[in-house]
Protein backbone atom coordinates (compact mmCIF):
# COMPACT_ATOMS: atom_id res chain seq x y z
CA UNK A 1 0.00 0.00 0.00
CA UNK A 2 1.35 3.37 -1.00
CA UNK A 3 0.46 4.83 2.37
CA UNK A 4 3.06 2.74 4.21
CA UNK A 5 5.65 2.54 1.45
CA UNK A 6 8.98 4.07 2.42
CA UNK A 7 10.45 6.46 -0.10
CA UNK A 8 14.26 6.51 0.36
CA UNK A 9 14.58 9.66 -1.75
CA UNK A 10 12.17 11.55 0.48
CA UNK A 11 13.88 10.20 3.63
CA UNK A 12 17.28 11.40 2.36
CA UNK A 13 15.74 14.74 1.41
CA UNK A 14 14.32 14.98 4.95
CA UNK A 15 17.80 14.38 6.42
CA UNK A 16 19.33 16.93 4.06
CA UNK A 17 16.65 19.54 4.88
CA UNK A 18 16.94 18.92 8.59
CA UNK A 19 20.74 18.94 8.36
CA UNK A 20 20.78 22.26 6.51
CA UNK A 21 18.39 23.78 9.05
CA UNK A 22 20.38 22.44 12.01
CA UNK A 23 23.70 23.60 10.56
CA UNK A 24 22.54 27.15 9.78
CA UNK A 25 20.86 27.50 13.15
CA UNK A 26 23.89 26.08 14.98
CA UNK A 27 26.53 28.01 13.03
CA UNK A 28 24.96 31.38 12.24
CA UNK A 29 21.64 32.06 13.87
CA UNK A 30 21.50 30.75 17.40
CA UNK A 31 24.88 31.92 18.79
CA UNK A 32 24.16 35.68 18.41
CA UNK A 33 20.63 35.14 19.71
CA UNK A 34 21.89 33.19 22.73
CA UNK A 35 24.56 35.83 23.44
CA UNK A 36 21.95 38.57 23.31
CA UNK A 37 19.61 36.60 25.56
CA UNK A 38 22.44 35.79 27.97
CA UNK A 39 23.37 39.48 28.16
CA UNK A 40 19.82 40.36 29.03
CA UNK A 41 19.57 37.56 31.58
CA UNK A 42 22.78 38.82 33.21
CA UNK A 43 21.46 42.38 33.17
CA UNK A 44 18.21 41.24 34.79
CA UNK A 45 20.09 39.17 37.38
CA UNK A 46 22.34 42.16 38.09
CA UNK A 47 19.32 44.45 38.38
CA UNK A 48 17.71 42.01 40.82
CA UNK A 49 20.94 41.92 42.85
CA UNK A 50 21.11 45.73 42.80
CA UNK A 51 17.50 45.93 43.83
CA UNK A 52 18.22 43.57 46.72
CA UNK A 53 21.22 45.66 47.73
CA UNK A 54 19.19 48.86 47.54
CA UNK A 55 16.47 47.22 49.60
CA UNK A 56 19.05 46.18 52.18
CA UNK A 57 20.52 49.67 52.27
CA UNK A 58 17.07 51.15 52.58
CA UNK A 59 16.38 48.86 55.51
CA UNK A 60 19.68 49.89 57.09
CA UNK A 61 18.81 53.55 56.60
CA UNK A 62 15.39 52.94 58.11
CA UNK A 63 16.96 51.23 61.14
CA UNK A 64 19.46 54.06 61.43
CA UNK A 65 16.67 56.61 61.15
CA UNK A 66 14.67 54.84 63.85
CA UNK A 67 17.74 54.75 66.07
CA UNK A 68 18.40 58.47 65.50
CA UNK A 69 14.78 59.32 66.23
CA UNK A 70 14.89 57.17 69.36
CA UNK A 71 18.11 58.86 70.46
CA UNK A 72 16.68 62.31 69.76
CA UNK A 73 13.58 61.41 71.74
CA UNK A 74 15.69 60.27 74.67
CA UNK A 75 17.74 63.47 74.51
CA UNK A 76 14.60 65.56 74.28
CA UNK A 77 13.18 63.74 77.28
CA UNK A 78 16.40 64.38 79.16
CA UNK A 79 16.34 68.10 78.24
CA UNK A 80 12.70 68.39 79.23
CA UNK A 81 13.25 66.68 82.59
CA UNK A 82 16.33 68.82 83.26
CA UNK A 83 14.37 71.94 82.29
CA UNK A 84 11.60 70.89 84.61
CA UNK A 85 14.08 70.39 87.44
CA UNK A 86 15.69 73.78 86.72
CA UNK A 87 12.30 75.40 86.54
CA UNK A 88 11.39 73.84 89.87
CA UNK A 89 14.58 75.17 91.43
CA UNK A 90 14.01 78.64 89.97
CA UNK A 91 10.41 78.52 91.10
CA UNK A 92 11.41 77.57 94.62
CA UNK A 93 14.05 80.29 94.66
CA UNK A 94 11.58 82.88 93.42
CA UNK A 95 8.99 81.82 95.97
CA UNK A 96 11.60 82.02 98.72
CA UNK A 97 12.69 85.50 97.57
CA UNK A 98 9.10 86.63 97.30
CA UNK A 99 8.39 85.38 100.81
CA UNK A 100 11.48 87.18 102.07
CA UNK A 101 10.44 90.39 100.29
CA UNK A 102 6.94 90.03 101.61
CA UNK A 103 8.27 89.69 105.19
CA UNK A 104 10.46 92.75 104.70
CA UNK A 105 7.53 94.68 103.24
CA UNK A 106 5.25 93.60 106.10
CA UNK A 107 7.85 94.66 108.69
CA UNK A 108 8.39 97.97 106.90
CA UNK A 109 4.64 98.48 106.68
CA UNK A 110 4.29 97.80 110.41
CA UNK A 111 6.98 100.37 111.23
CA UNK A 112 5.37 102.85 108.88
CA UNK A 113 1.97 102.25 110.43
CA UNK A 114 3.39 102.71 113.91
CA UNK A 115 5.01 105.95 112.87
CA UNK A 116 1.79 107.09 111.25
CA UNK A 117 -0.14 106.21 114.38
CA UNK A 118 2.34 108.14 116.55
CA UNK A 119 2.09 111.14 114.32
CA UNK A 120 -1.68 110.97 114.25
CA UNK A 121 -1.78 110.63 117.99
CA UNK A 122 0.43 113.68 118.48
CA UNK A 123 -1.70 115.63 116.06
CA UNK A 124 -4.85 114.54 117.84
CA UNK A 125 -3.42 115.55 121.23
CA UNK A 126 -2.53 118.93 119.87
CA UNK A 127 -5.94 119.36 118.29
CA UNK A 128 -7.61 118.28 121.49
CA UNK A 129 -5.53 120.68 123.58
CA UNK A 130 -6.47 123.54 121.29
CA UNK A 131 -10.08 122.50 121.46
CA UNK A 132 -10.04 122.34 125.28
CA UNK A 133 -8.37 125.72 125.49
CA UNK A 134 -10.89 127.22 123.16
CA UNK A 135 -13.69 125.57 125.12
CA UNK A 136 -12.28 126.81 128.45
CA UNK A 137 -11.89 130.30 127.07
CA UNK A 138 -15.50 130.29 126.16
CA UNK A 139 -16.53 129.04 129.57
CA UNK A 140 -14.45 131.46 131.60
CA UNK A 141 -14.89 134.22 129.14
CA UNK A 142 -11.32 135.19 128.81
CA UNK A 143 -8.54 134.18 126.54
CA UNK A 144 -5.36 132.48 127.49
CA UNK A 145 -2.32 134.25 126.46
CA UNK A 146 1.35 134.15 127.02
CA UNK A 147 2.92 132.00 129.65
CA UNK A 148 -0.31 130.77 131.12
CA UNK A 149 -1.59 129.46 127.84
CA UNK A 150 1.43 127.49 127.31
CA UNK A 151 1.39 126.00 130.88
CA UNK A 152 -2.26 125.09 130.63
CA UNK A 153 -1.89 123.53 127.26
CA UNK A 154 0.96 121.45 128.42
CA UNK A 155 -0.84 120.29 131.53
CA UNK A 156 -3.86 119.40 129.46
CA UNK A 157 -1.83 117.47 127.14
CA UNK A 158 -0.17 115.60 129.93
CA UNK A 159 -3.44 114.64 131.60
CA UNK A 160 -4.81 113.45 128.33
Amino acid sequence: MELFTLDPGLAIWTWISFGILFFILWKYLLPPLMVSMKKRELFIAESIDNADEIKKRLNDIKTEQTEIIEKAKQEADKIISKSREDAEIVKKKLIKNAEKDALVLIAQSKINAEEERELLLQKLQKELGIFICEASEKIIGTSFTGEMDRILAEKMAETL
Binding site: D7, A11, I12, W13, T14, S17, F18, L25, L33, S36
Partner: protein, 282 residues
Protein backbone atom coordinates in the same frame (compact mmCIF):
# COMPACT_ATOMS: atom_id res chain seq x y z
CA UNK B 1 -12.25 37.31 15.84
CA UNK B 2 -15.43 37.45 13.75
CA UNK B 3 -13.33 38.10 10.66
CA UNK B 4 -11.13 35.14 11.48
CA UNK B 5 -14.17 32.89 11.90
CA UNK B 6 -15.54 34.10 8.59
CA UNK B 7 -12.22 33.24 7.01
CA UNK B 8 -12.25 29.74 8.42
CA UNK B 9 -15.89 29.08 7.62
CA UNK B 10 -15.76 30.38 4.06
CA UNK B 11 -12.31 30.40 2.57
CA UNK B 12 -11.06 27.03 3.75
CA UNK B 13 -14.01 24.89 2.63
CA UNK B 14 -14.14 26.74 -0.67
CA UNK B 15 -10.43 26.18 -1.20
CA UNK B 16 -10.70 22.51 -0.29
CA UNK B 17 -13.69 22.01 -2.50
CA UNK B 18 -12.13 23.90 -5.37
CA UNK B 19 -8.89 21.98 -5.02
CA UNK B 20 -10.64 18.64 -5.04
CA UNK B 21 -13.35 19.57 -7.54
CA UNK B 22 -11.73 18.14 -10.66
CA UNK B 23 -10.91 14.96 -8.80
CA UNK B 24 -14.58 14.36 -8.22
CA UNK B 25 -15.20 14.66 -11.91
CA UNK B 26 -15.69 11.62 -13.97
CA UNK B 27 -12.61 12.03 -16.15
CA UNK B 28 -10.25 10.24 -13.76
CA UNK B 29 -12.68 7.45 -12.84
CA UNK B 30 -11.52 7.30 -9.25
CA UNK B 31 -13.52 6.12 -6.26
CA UNK B 32 -14.09 8.54 -3.37
CA UNK B 33 -11.52 6.83 -1.13
CA UNK B 34 -8.96 6.90 -3.94
CA UNK B 35 -9.67 10.58 -4.49
CA UNK B 36 -9.24 11.28 -0.78
CA UNK B 37 -5.91 9.47 -0.62
CA UNK B 38 -4.78 11.13 -3.83
CA UNK B 39 -5.31 14.49 -2.17
CA UNK B 40 -3.20 13.54 0.85
CA UNK B 41 -0.52 11.25 -0.57
CA UNK B 42 2.68 12.37 -2.23
CA UNK B 43 2.85 13.10 -5.94
CA UNK B 44 5.10 14.74 -8.50
CA UNK B 45 2.55 17.38 -9.39
CA UNK B 46 2.20 20.59 -7.47
CA UNK B 47 -1.41 21.73 -7.38
CA UNK B 48 -1.50 24.97 -5.43
CA UNK B 49 -4.31 26.88 -7.10
CA UNK B 50 -7.76 25.55 -7.98
CA UNK B 51 -8.80 25.45 -11.64
CA UNK B 52 -5.16 25.91 -12.71
CA UNK B 53 -3.41 22.88 -14.19
CA UNK B 54 -1.00 21.22 -11.77
CA UNK B 55 2.68 22.03 -12.10
CA UNK B 56 4.93 19.08 -12.88
CA UNK B 57 7.92 19.24 -10.53
CA UNK B 58 11.35 18.78 -12.16
CA UNK B 59 14.26 16.45 -11.17
CA UNK B 60 12.00 13.91 -9.53
CA UNK B 61 11.10 16.36 -6.77
CA UNK B 62 7.86 15.34 -5.12
CA UNK B 63 5.24 17.53 -3.50
CA UNK B 64 6.40 16.56 0.00
CA UNK B 65 10.00 17.38 -0.90
CA UNK B 66 8.79 20.76 -2.11
CA UNK B 67 6.89 21.28 1.17
CA UNK B 68 9.99 20.33 3.19
CA UNK B 69 12.08 22.80 1.22
CA UNK B 70 9.44 25.48 1.63
CA UNK B 71 9.35 24.84 5.39
CA UNK B 72 13.13 25.20 5.68
CA UNK B 73 12.98 28.38 3.62
CA UNK B 74 10.25 29.88 5.82
CA UNK B 75 12.03 28.88 9.07
CA UNK B 76 15.29 30.40 7.89
CA UNK B 77 13.57 33.63 6.83
CA UNK B 78 11.84 33.79 10.20
CA UNK B 79 15.05 33.17 12.14
CA UNK B 80 17.19 35.48 9.99
CA UNK B 81 14.73 38.32 10.51
CA UNK B 82 14.29 37.43 14.17
CA UNK B 83 18.02 37.37 14.89
CA UNK B 84 18.64 40.51 12.82
CA UNK B 85 15.95 42.45 14.64
CA UNK B 86 16.80 41.01 18.04
CA UNK B 87 17.59 43.69 20.56
CA UNK B 88 17.60 44.19 24.30
CA UNK B 89 13.83 44.56 24.21
CA UNK B 90 12.77 42.30 21.31
CA UNK B 91 9.51 42.95 19.49
CA UNK B 92 7.50 41.28 16.75
CA UNK B 93 9.36 38.50 14.92
CA UNK B 94 12.40 38.75 17.22
CA UNK B 95 10.15 38.27 20.22
CA UNK B 96 8.39 35.33 18.55
CA UNK B 97 11.71 33.64 17.78
CA UNK B 98 12.87 34.19 21.33
CA UNK B 99 9.63 32.71 22.70
CA UNK B 100 10.20 29.54 20.64
CA UNK B 101 13.83 29.26 21.80
CA UNK B 102 12.87 29.84 25.43
CA UNK B 103 10.01 27.36 25.18
CA UNK B 104 12.28 24.60 23.88
CA UNK B 105 15.02 25.47 26.34
CA UNK B 106 12.94 25.88 29.51
CA UNK B 107 10.13 23.38 28.88
CA UNK B 108 11.88 20.54 27.05
CA UNK B 109 15.67 20.50 27.04
CA UNK B 110 16.72 21.91 30.44
CA UNK B 111 14.12 20.03 32.53
CA UNK B 112 15.07 16.71 30.89
CA UNK B 113 18.83 17.07 30.39
CA UNK B 114 19.81 19.68 32.90
CA UNK B 115 21.43 23.00 32.07
CA UNK B 116 24.98 21.75 31.45
CA UNK B 117 24.13 19.01 28.93
CA UNK B 118 21.07 20.81 27.64
CA UNK B 119 23.15 23.74 26.40
CA UNK B 120 24.88 21.45 23.85
CA UNK B 121 21.63 19.88 22.69
CA UNK B 122 19.46 22.99 22.51
CA UNK B 123 20.11 23.73 18.83
CA UNK B 124 19.33 20.17 17.80
CA UNK B 125 16.00 19.98 19.61
CA UNK B 126 15.09 23.51 18.59
CA UNK B 127 15.73 22.56 14.95
CA UNK B 128 13.69 19.39 15.40
CA UNK B 129 10.71 21.16 16.96
CA UNK B 130 10.58 24.08 14.58
CA UNK B 131 11.10 21.77 11.59
CA UNK B 132 8.27 19.39 12.51
CA UNK B 133 5.95 22.20 13.61
CA UNK B 134 6.42 24.19 10.38
CA UNK B 135 5.96 21.13 8.20
CA UNK B 136 2.78 20.28 10.15
CA UNK B 137 1.40 23.80 9.92
CA UNK B 138 2.17 24.23 6.23
CA UNK B 139 -0.09 21.26 5.53
CA UNK B 140 -2.98 23.19 7.03
CA UNK B 141 -2.82 25.89 4.39
CA UNK B 142 -5.46 25.03 1.79
CA UNK B 143 -4.04 23.17 -1.23
CA UNK B 144 -0.71 22.66 0.54
CA UNK B 145 0.33 19.26 1.89
CA UNK B 146 1.80 18.18 5.16
CA UNK B 147 5.01 16.24 4.60
CA UNK B 148 4.70 14.77 8.09
CA UNK B 149 1.63 12.95 6.76
CA UNK B 150 4.16 10.80 4.91
CA UNK B 151 5.73 7.93 6.82
CA UNK B 152 9.05 8.33 5.01
CA UNK B 153 9.53 11.79 6.52
CA UNK B 154 8.56 10.78 10.06
CA UNK B 155 10.65 7.58 9.80
CA UNK B 156 13.65 9.60 8.68
CA UNK B 157 13.26 11.87 11.69
CA UNK B 158 12.77 8.91 14.03
CA UNK B 159 15.83 7.23 12.55
CA UNK B 160 17.93 10.28 13.46
CA UNK B 161 16.70 9.91 17.05
CA UNK B 162 17.34 6.13 16.98
CA UNK B 163 20.92 6.54 15.74
CA UNK B 164 21.59 9.39 18.17
CA UNK B 165 20.23 7.36 21.09
CA UNK B 166 22.91 4.71 20.50
CA UNK B 167 25.63 7.13 19.44
CA UNK B 168 25.24 9.27 22.54
CA UNK B 169 24.80 6.21 24.75
CA UNK B 170 28.04 4.64 23.47
CA UNK B 171 29.87 7.96 23.74
CA UNK B 172 28.76 8.70 27.30
CA UNK B 173 28.84 5.18 28.78
CA UNK B 174 31.20 3.36 26.42
CA UNK B 175 30.25 0.33 24.30
CA UNK B 176 30.31 -2.24 27.15
CA UNK B 177 28.96 0.35 29.59
CA UNK B 178 25.91 0.92 27.41
CA UNK B 179 24.95 -2.76 27.47
CA UNK B 180 25.92 -3.05 31.11
CA UNK B 181 23.54 -0.20 31.78
CA UNK B 182 20.58 -2.10 30.31
CA UNK B 183 21.66 -5.44 31.77
CA UNK B 184 19.43 -6.14 34.82
CA UNK B 185 21.32 -6.30 38.11
CA UNK B 186 21.44 -9.72 39.76
CA UNK B 187 19.95 -11.53 36.76
CA UNK B 188 21.39 -14.76 35.37
CA UNK B 189 23.16 -14.78 31.97
CA UNK B 190 20.20 -16.21 30.03
CA UNK B 191 17.62 -13.78 31.43
CA UNK B 192 20.15 -10.98 31.32
CA UNK B 193 20.91 -11.41 27.62
CA UNK B 194 17.20 -11.81 26.91
CA UNK B 195 16.45 -8.53 28.70
CA UNK B 196 19.27 -6.76 26.85
CA UNK B 197 17.82 -7.95 23.52
CA UNK B 198 14.37 -6.85 24.65
CA UNK B 199 15.72 -3.44 25.68
CA UNK B 200 17.47 -3.13 22.34
CA UNK B 201 14.21 -3.85 20.56
CA UNK B 202 12.57 -1.46 22.98
CA UNK B 203 14.67 1.38 21.60
CA UNK B 204 13.79 0.31 18.10
CA UNK B 205 10.07 0.08 18.85
CA UNK B 206 10.15 3.45 20.62
CA UNK B 207 11.53 5.03 17.47
CA UNK B 208 8.95 3.31 15.27
CA UNK B 209 6.18 4.48 17.58
CA UNK B 210 7.64 7.98 17.52
CA UNK B 211 7.46 7.93 13.76
CA UNK B 212 4.00 6.34 13.55
CA UNK B 213 2.46 8.71 16.12
CA UNK B 214 3.40 11.81 14.17
CA UNK B 215 2.49 10.30 10.81
CA UNK B 216 -0.87 8.93 11.99
CA UNK B 217 -1.91 12.15 13.70
CA UNK B 218 -1.14 14.36 10.74
CA UNK B 219 -2.49 11.95 8.16
CA UNK B 220 -5.68 11.23 10.09
CA UNK B 221 -6.31 14.93 10.67
CA UNK B 222 -6.23 15.76 6.98
CA UNK B 223 -8.25 12.67 6.16
CA UNK B 224 -10.90 13.66 8.72
CA UNK B 225 -11.24 17.16 7.27
CA UNK B 226 -11.54 15.86 3.73
CA UNK B 227 -13.93 13.10 4.80
CA UNK B 228 -16.31 15.64 6.32
CA UNK B 229 -16.23 17.68 3.13
CA UNK B 230 -16.69 14.65 0.88
CA UNK B 231 -19.93 13.83 2.68
CA UNK B 232 -21.52 16.67 0.71
CA UNK B 233 -20.81 14.80 -2.52
CA UNK B 234 -21.75 11.41 -1.14
CA UNK B 235 -24.97 12.28 0.72
CA UNK B 236 -26.37 15.61 -0.43
CA UNK B 237 -24.94 19.05 -1.20
CA UNK B 238 -27.12 20.46 1.61
CA UNK B 239 -25.28 18.21 4.03
CA UNK B 240 -22.55 20.87 3.77
CA UNK B 241 -24.41 22.85 6.45
CA UNK B 242 -23.38 20.13 8.89
CA UNK B 243 -20.15 18.81 7.40
CA UNK B 244 -18.46 22.20 6.78
CA UNK B 245 -18.70 23.32 10.46
CA UNK B 246 -17.38 19.90 11.47
CA UNK B 247 -14.52 20.25 8.99
CA UNK B 248 -13.70 23.71 10.33
CA UNK B 249 -13.75 22.40 13.90
CA UNK B 250 -11.42 19.54 12.91
CA UNK B 251 -9.21 22.07 11.13
CA UNK B 252 -8.89 24.15 14.30
CA UNK B 253 -8.18 20.96 16.22
CA UNK B 254 -5.47 20.19 13.67
CA UNK B 255 -3.71 23.46 14.50
CA UNK B 256 -3.50 22.32 18.11
CA UNK B 257 -2.40 18.82 17.04
CA UNK B 258 0.29 20.27 14.77
CA UNK B 259 1.83 22.01 17.76
CA UNK B 260 1.22 19.14 20.17
CA UNK B 261 2.77 16.51 17.92
CA UNK B 262 5.89 18.60 17.31
CA UNK B 263 6.15 19.08 21.08
CA UNK B 264 5.61 15.36 21.85
CA UNK B 265 8.11 14.24 19.20
CA UNK B 266 10.78 16.62 20.50
CA UNK B 267 10.14 15.85 24.15
CA UNK B 268 10.21 12.07 23.64
CA UNK B 269 13.36 12.30 21.51
CA UNK B 270 15.00 14.30 24.27
CA UNK B 271 13.92 11.73 26.89
CA UNK B 272 15.10 8.73 24.79
CA UNK B 273 18.53 10.24 24.17
CA UNK B 274 18.87 11.23 27.80
CA UNK B 275 17.74 7.81 29.07
CA UNK B 276 20.21 5.94 26.88
CA UNK B 277 23.13 8.06 27.99
CA UNK B 278 22.45 8.20 31.72
CA UNK B 279 23.79 5.46 34.01
CA UNK B 280 21.15 3.38 35.80
CA UNK B 281 20.00 4.93 39.06
CA UNK B 282 21.08 8.49 38.26
Amino acid sequence: MRLLLRFFTMIIPIAFLSASFPAFGAEENLSISETLFKDILNSNELKLFPFIPPLKLPFGVSEHMFMLGLSIFLILILFFRGVKKHSFKPRGIANFVEIIVLFIRDDIVYPVMGEKRGRHWLTFFLSMFIFIFTVNIIGLIPAFKSATGNISVTSAMALIVFILTFAVGFKELGFPGFFKNIYPKGAGPVIGVFVVILEFFGYFIKSIVLSLRLFANMFAGHLAILSFLVLMFVINPFFGFISVPFAVFTYLLEVLIAFLQAFVFTLLSCIFIMMASTPEGE
